[in-house]
Amino acid sequence: MPGADNALPRNRFLRTESQVVQSLAVPATAHATVAADVISATSQLALDVRSVTKDFGPPLLRRIARRTSTPYRAVNDVSFAVPAGEIFGVIGANGSGKSTLIRILSTLLLPDGGDVHVFGRNVVTQALEVRRLINRVSADPSFFRPMSAVENLLFFGRAYGLTGEETRRESLSLLEQLGLDERRAREPMLKMSRGQQQKVAVARAFLTKPRLLLLDEPTTGLDPRSKRDVQRFVSDIRRDHGVTILLTTHDMEEAELLCDRIAFLAEGRIVAEGTPLQLRERIADGRAVEDVDMEDVFMTFTGRRLDEDEEGNPDDNG
């Protein structure tokens, strides 16, 4: 994006690490302030997850043939609530159940137990209504790559009830904000770098004006500049439009910069939840919180490093 570097210091999440640590030293952190401002605007729950469980196992016939009946529990009694306007982070190693959770929230996977409500609508029994309220960005941009960005967005815009004209206008505007000009937007996406494709994925998600945005490792594999552009966009849309965001990530710095609250997921269970400051304080054990690294926080609560894969179901990517 032209001039992006000059614009960086104006954004909350683009502070340097030392600035982040400084902010954590005071009780009313930037995170807490922003969250409180946004959350106080509405007391509505954007996301209400109660005792959600999901098992995966071999098909029934194979289970009978092998006389095995032990399914793998990908998500285990997970509960949390996200008020409207909050950015809620879910952090876990590969195989911890993050992607399974996101797919349940996306209405693509039925939970075996528990309930999930998005703005009061049940994801199982009111899936169509929930789908109108949500959108999603995954680690893999996932497009019809022979088509152009505009053609892809045209389809998704129409599928969410926008007219062709509205979609074209909004798409080009969003892509420009993300640093993609019209000429690029009309070329086949095959010709785009991964970072550019991911920006189109962010535009796709926001095009439909979701009230809840599910970001599943949206910056994984991006170069630093693309990552920063995507992070800035995420922060801006929350600030300007009050969109509620659920973010899963491997990147501790990103989680701390963007999220108001964070939950750590290990073996399908939430093992800790709180603001970044609260989580640091919980393990500080006499140390100053600025001396506590979030990676240490993660290891303390989960018993493993973030880059360590958890053993689990091959169906589950995260």
Partner: protein, 282 residues
Amino acid sequence: MTTADLTYPGSPRRVALGWAFVERQTNLWKRYWGWELVWLLYGVVNTLAITFIAREAGQSGVISQEQVRRLTLFLLIGTLIWAYLSAVLDDMSLVIMWERWEGTIEHTLMAPVPRAVHLIGMSVFGILHATARTALILACSLPFFNVDLGHADWLAALLVVVVGSLSLIGLGILTGILPMLYPERGEQMSFMVQALVLLVSGVYYGVNVLPGWLQAASNASPATYLLKGIRSAVIDGHGVAHQGQVLLVLAIFGVVLVPVSLVAFSAAERWARRTGRLKRQG
């Protein structure tokens, strides 16, 4: 958009949502024009290769010249209808498979589009696409043969195709379920369905040459009646009034198969959502 907007099949909202799929597939095929050209060439070569059998039969004295003309039309109609039918079934079996290849399956299926609207949109594209491809194959193949189309009843033939296409949509949606249930083998399974339809429907021969049990099976294939009706209209010049029975059977197939296939697709989707199959990787 409210739920009420989507309640009625013909509501403008539903039409607009369904159009999204027609437009997307059209854009996609434009980008894959090279493949379309390959399939067109294959269709023309297949039509010529099979229809020349009639000329060979005439030249070797097996049948009379009058019979050659009749057999040529018989085979030409068979190859063209097969090209049409397989294009519709292919497009419908790609409903899930193509999304998996491109990785868009999760994004498409989480869009707030009722599944029936999604499938009808894909079917409309399938019919338009198959019609265009078949018309081009016909245009490229006709100059090779001396066929008399003078007494064909085109209105009756068109009516049979239109009513028969309903049942093809139903059949197509049913074959589209297979790749959803079996991510690894679904594509091959849908080819098997096509192969069975080819065998029992009398595409290149009359169903009366089949063994008894296969003749019984041919009654269960809508393609049997589709071919029978079109041959009767084009070769024998029988009008709409003469097509009553064929049209009635095809209409019954359509009225039964379309809703049954939609219900079956929804049930399969629910199972796939339970078992975690609605995703890019198989």
